[in-house]
Symmetry: C2
Subunit: 352 residues, 2 copies
């Protein structure tokens, strides 16, 4: 028992395997279980990964994993909705815990998957889906237990934050900064999900679903990317004593809940102003707690892999421990966005 | 069953009662238990709290609580080692979960109390002991599960951070800034534990015990306060392109583990440089995760009370869930401190 299957051997999948094997002894001590990775699901053959020390674990048929009752934890690190959704749903339905870094899946199907996990008394954990290695899902869930959270806002996409930092600090144009990000491996060849705000939108939908208690549909969220940002926009922010950040934000706001993703003015005194390069930061505004900010690398192989392995350890230790975390499948209606001011491509948000 | 006893009705104790009653219905929904506060232990009579809506709950004999088997969770919010230690130890030994905000108690007796909690399969939780309302104990514990943490460093005392901010920004002398802190309720009439670094030392000892796995004794920690900081010290930091902060730090450093508390230079690009006034920030440096920073109000009635109530909710929901959190009673030997440079009363720490 206590065997783990990893779905996908891309950047995060191979990182998770590496982090797991490196910490295997301490994980065994911590969980009191003789846990090990039994399978790695990959469409590519093991020969595609020469020198890989665990090539005996590669399989390309998901049913091998699904039908192996020794596998108690499945780590879904494929990304996208299909086939990830099918794999995750059938794993949970078969009584296996699932951990994932897949923000699109959680943003679109989170409520349903959490419900199945609850019914089966197994875990569905997704710490790595928001903020990479920054612990945010569990702390936010903790905060929600005894505090009223009115707002979550932050810089949730490292690629766009790198680009905006270069535009602001070094006067680069958008295209030039994007090219630099790609050359550094911070942006994909097709960067559209990042630069158009889609990635940040999925992440804020997960956090918004948690604080609203209902599924927030990414399609209902006002989302603007950073592709139109000009030198004039940067100058405007500078002249106002601040900077520009792609801010993803969810506010309870009584009967008019708002969720927005847009390039926004951030005053230099804000804790979010000093968050530069590929770093992320998430501000949680609680009634009793006040503002709490979580800061760190929001992406990258090892930060994200480390969050995945944390979730695996928790699922091994206490399957079902995520049972208190859920939101309803009913869609949360979102009100049209309200901005204090709009100047060029910059939105001014209240309180920023 | 599921009755709670609160020990102490001072700032944090009364705040915890208030936060609990305000969120009682949602706590009941979350824990699935008909939980309530049954007792509040206070040496003062209920008449000392006129208008208090729950004066029927006041008792002044701890044995009433200890001998009531309905009480499953005890929140120790008295502070200091005695009688808190006796109350906590006997509660745990009687199979009751304990939550506390008492950093002195955890710094000095943490290993022993965690051991008893483990043996009795109940919780001993102390999220509120470090960083007030900032979630740090649980996230750090999470990070430790699948990552090697090499360093924890931060601004752990709000009073001294307020004073240093006023000295740096407004050119105030130490005495003047201390007076302002006292007038604002940010410093106690006897501020010695804060300004001498003792409070920060207790907090870093708790975090250091977690990352080293052995009890770190506050007496073994090089601790300097901020009382000697002069205008010249401030100017030195300014001229170096940074500021001064009271930094509490624990570094693994192979065979020479270091734990220090001292006024230190912090470069303006550091995430800790912009942490001003009564705010706290804690940086966790993990091998895989990279730097993660937790920021928020490190003290105050409601942030701290909210952390206490979070711990109560967790203890109700899953007594014993803190079982994986422990460190050995053996004392961790600490090496003499090494500084990159010393200038006046300012220490320059490597990497700051």
């Amino acid at each position: 028992m206590s065997k783990i299957a990893i779905l996908g051997h891309g950047v995060v999948g191979s990182g998770a395997a590496e982090v797991f094997f490196k910490n295997r002894e301490s994980i065994r001590a911590k969980t009191g279980q003789n846990a090990d990775i039994k399978y790695i699901l990959e469409v590519r053959d093991a020969s595609a990964f020469p020198g890989c020390s665990y090539s005996d674990k590669f399989v390309n048929d998901f049913d091998v994993i699904l039908n192996d009752s020794e596998v108690t934890v499945v780590a879904e690190l494929i990304g996208g909705v299909e086939p990830a959704y099918r794999f995750v749903k059938s794993s949970l339905s078969a009584g296996k815990s699932v951990v994932t870094s897949n923000k699109e899946l959680v943003a679109k199907k989170g409520a349903e998957l959490l419900k199945i996990a609850r019914e089966k008394n197994v875990s569905f954990a997704f710490e790595a889906s928001v903020g990479g290695g920054i612990p945010i899902i569990r702390p936010l869930h903790q905060c929600l237990a005894a505090d009223s959270i009115n707002e979550v806002a932050g810089i949730l996409n490292g690629t766009t934050n790198f680009i905006l930092t270069k535009m602001f600090r070094d006067g680069m144009a958008f295209e030039e900064a994007l090219k630099l990000a790609q050359d550094n491996g911070y942006a994909e060849r097709d960067p559209s999900d990042d630069v158009n705000g889609v990635d940040a939108c999925r992440k804020i939908c997960i956090l918004a679903s948690m604080i609203f208690g209902k599924q927030v549909n990414p399609d209902s969220v006002f989302t603007e990317g950073i592709t139109k940002i000009t030198r004039e926009d940067i100058s405007f922010c500078e002249s106002r004593g601040g900077t520009v950040k792609l801010i993803a934000r969810a506010v309870k706001n009584g009967d008019s809940p708002q969720v927005t993703v847009c390039p926004a003015f951030v005053h230099k005194d804000s804790q979010l102003a000093g968050v530069n390069d590929v770093y992320n930061a998430i501000m949680v505004r609680g009634e009793a707690t006040g503002d709490v900010v979580f800061y760190g690398k929001g992406a990258g192989k090892f930060p994200t892999a480390s969050a995945v392995v944390n979730d695996i350890v928790n699922a091994l230790k206490s399957p079902g421990e995520t049972g208190a975390l859920f939101w309803e499948e009913d869609e949360q209606p979102i009100s049209p966005p309200v901005f204090s001011e709009v100047c060029g491509n910059i939105r001014v948000l209240e309180g920023f």
